[in-house]
Symmetry: C2
Subunit: 412 residues, 2 copies
DNA sequence: GCTCTCGATGTAAGCGCATACACTCGTCGG
DNA sequence: CCGACGAGTGTATGCGCTTACATCGAGAGC
């Protein structure tokens, strides 16, 4: 290519020569323009433009001892569909016909909330002058991912349980770390089992280096910051609302599996709201006199359906509070089969905000995790930690969004 | 903190000293282990472990003249909800009650396919030893984003129309670039208006530095690689399928707005499939004798509904092929109102694969863009370009997925 | 008129790593 | 027994930038 200076990218030296200044001045113009005389500044800027100079981030990172990059580790696999469908299809290069009559093929990443997380984190990072690097935790080579990532970033936000705590601790080394409570069905959080008061729902910073090990903060828990979602407070708020709008009559709480931290947090929220006696049992009378019963579910449609159907044999509830959407949808079906009008006779609520909840009949009132916010807060926490590595571990408890829909009747 | 070596991160020098070798050997152990004697290698690895050494990516990038990072630029805004809901909410720290009876609040990023794109790109990048950096194009400071990004990555994949072509060209400079056709409703592609043959649908590489300027490749088009989605081929395949399963009777094509490249590509696909005469008009007889009519829609529910409702006054179609899902859903409603059984009397198809299509009654057969694939291919193309900067611009046309659902009856 | 101060700019020393090249020392063919 | 060879390792340089420090002038203060 004769004549065309297709050469290497220009460097500060090239700019300096062009502008007839030293490289230090070039650097100053770019980093702290106020430290340079206006005339000089303009001369340098002109040279930058003219040469199409783009600062080399590696060099900057090396010299400045910071990369200006934050990492976000989300759950994921190794191109799950690539080796199967994708590659096969692409090889033939033909349109694929997919039988989606059961709705299963619609999306390989159902309820894909991570886009929100990424966007929130990216925006927050950018706002503070950082770039965002994303990586998916994979089954194979996790150490490699982590190791690699750790060397590239100034700090790392990891969706909890994406990689084992153990690995986090060893691979990460000195890299600031923030744990992010992930999608509720994919991990545990909200296991706020202790005796904390209602103020935990206020989203205030809770400084604690000694949380009891439950939840996403295991072994590493005591040394890492974390952003969590307030399952308990969300359920409490939801139930309090339901109590004001439901028809007169008993309340049914459709619990989740006992070993799920999510289920535990939500159950605690329910008890907070219903109040009264029976806090330790499976039923009782709430502080406002409302009778309530707790049924054991397993987070599945069938489980919710069967439990409620069985219960209908003996009693008709005025409200079914389910610990998640799937079981709420099952309950909805059972009520329909039992001829119970929803929301006229009985209101129903779910938890999680899965896509299906929006399209059920009636549409399900549910609770959504603030994924965008999670991303934003995680980054904010991370930046705070980077700024002050010595600060005590902080836990942020984010309030949820309650989505009021038809299944709990007219609102307000 | 006395005693605790909370010092800086260890470097190759520390490892070298610990293992009693030179830094070159340490580097070799990490980069090309086969070049080092087994005993030495183990000694070094032990030191690495012991010190918790993590290579500094900036230094590596500087010395190696490559960052090992690819950039992905997706459309987006500046925390759209942050300054409003998020910040307001977080300030109070309380659970937000959102009236979602109309379904509008369910998700700030409806039909958010970008998670797929990111995952595909990330996985493909990782597979080749690269990390992925994502950035959202924002209204403000685009130059800054681009400039910054350009200095950080070895190559950049940009969803087309995320930033102006102009900016791409100037900011990017020498950085390898691949354009990615974005979500169909957000940008244009498939404007394969030229006289290309059916082979364009085969997903083969199409080498052309001289595409007519339509579509995402504007001024910069002739110099950048691109990955596109085959709207035309997708519609053609879909229509061919419909012709084999529909009841006897005429076909209605519900077109999109004339100025949309998407609409143009899909209309062309329809004509490819239906064949016969009338290729230039708004109706005719297909090559298999099927009568067809084209109605002008505008991609909206109402437009689809009204057009079909009006048409029903004079004729009952055996198939309604809509240029997108929204208008297909409108058509579905009009048919229901008109007492036309779907899919018994008339089959219906959409295009785009929006969430609603899955939950309509009957569920809508539609076409989905292979976002995961798009991400994978974009990265592959990018890597190819990085490897051979001098290669002619390549355009990849990806086949779509047809999601067969109840609205087009029993399949096969 | 001379020193002092301070703003503007230049000089030069790394930042941590990869790698070309030099060097050492067995091994092997002759 | 000697030189060529090659595997294994060390030395030294530079990647492009930031920044502490030195330098230089031009007013300000006396």
């Amino acid at each position: 290519m004769p004549g065309v200076p297709e050469s290497k990218s220009p460097t500060v030296y090239d700019v300096a020569r062009q502008a007839e200044v030293s490289i230090a001045t070039v650097s100053r113009v770019l980093r702290r323009p106020d430290k340079v005389a206006a005339a000089t500044r303009e001369r340098v800027m002109a040279a930058v433009q003219q040469l199409g100079y783009v600062p080399n981030a590696s060099a900057r990172g090396l010299a400045g001892r910071r990369t200006g990059v934050l990492g976000l580790l989300i759950p994921g696999h190794d191109l799950p569909t690539t080796s199967d469908r994708e590659d096969a299809r692409s090889a033939t290069g033909e349109v694929a016909f997919i039988d989606d009559r059961d709705g299963s093929a619609a999306d390989p990443f159902r309820n894909r909330y991570f886009e929100q997380l990424v966007r929130g984190a990216e925006a927050a990072a950018w706002r503070e002058g950082y770039a965002l690097m994303v990586a998916a935790g994979r089954d194979m080579g996790r150490e490699v991912v982590m190791h690699d990532l750790a060397g590239r970033v100034d700090g790392l936000a990891a969706v909890s349980r994406t990689v084992p705590d153990e690995l986090l601790r060893t691979s990460i080394g000195r890299t600031p770390l923030v744990l992010v409570a992930g999608h509720s069905t994919a991990d545990g959080d909200g296991a706020d089992g202790g005796g904390e008061g209602a103020d935990r729902a206020e989203g205030a910073d809770v400084t604690d280096g000694t949380v009891d090990g439950v939840g996403p903060r295991g072994a590493i828990g005591t040394t890492a910051d974390a952003v969590r979602v307030d399952n308990r407070g969300g359920m409490r708020a939801l139930v309090e609302h339901v109590l004001t709008v439901k028809p007169p009559g008993p309340v049914l709480y459709l619990a989740g599996p006992p070993d799920s931290p999510d289920a535990a947090g939500r159950a605690a929220g329910f008890r907070d709201a219903i109040g009264g006696d029976g806090a330790g049992g499976d039923g009782g009378t709430g502080r406002d006199g409302t009778a309530w019963t707790e049924l054991l579910g397993d987070f599945t449609w069938q489980g919710g359906h069967d439990a409620v159907a069985a219960h209908l044999e003996q009693d008709t509830p005025a409200a079914v509070i389910a610990a998640n959407d799937q079981s709420a949808l099952g309950a909805l079906a059972a009520l329909r089969e039992g001829g119970v009008d929803v929301p006229g006779t009985c209101v129903v609520t779910g938890f999680d905000g899965i896509d299906e909840s929006r399209w059920s009949t009636p549409a399900l009132t549910t609770v959504r995790q603030p994924m965008l916010d999670l991303g934003v807060r995680a980054v904010e926490l991370l930046l705070r930690r980077i700024a002050d590595p010595g600060a005590p571990a902080t836990e942020l408890l984010l309030p949820v969004d309650v989505l009021l829909r038809h299944s709990c009747g007219p609102h307000r």
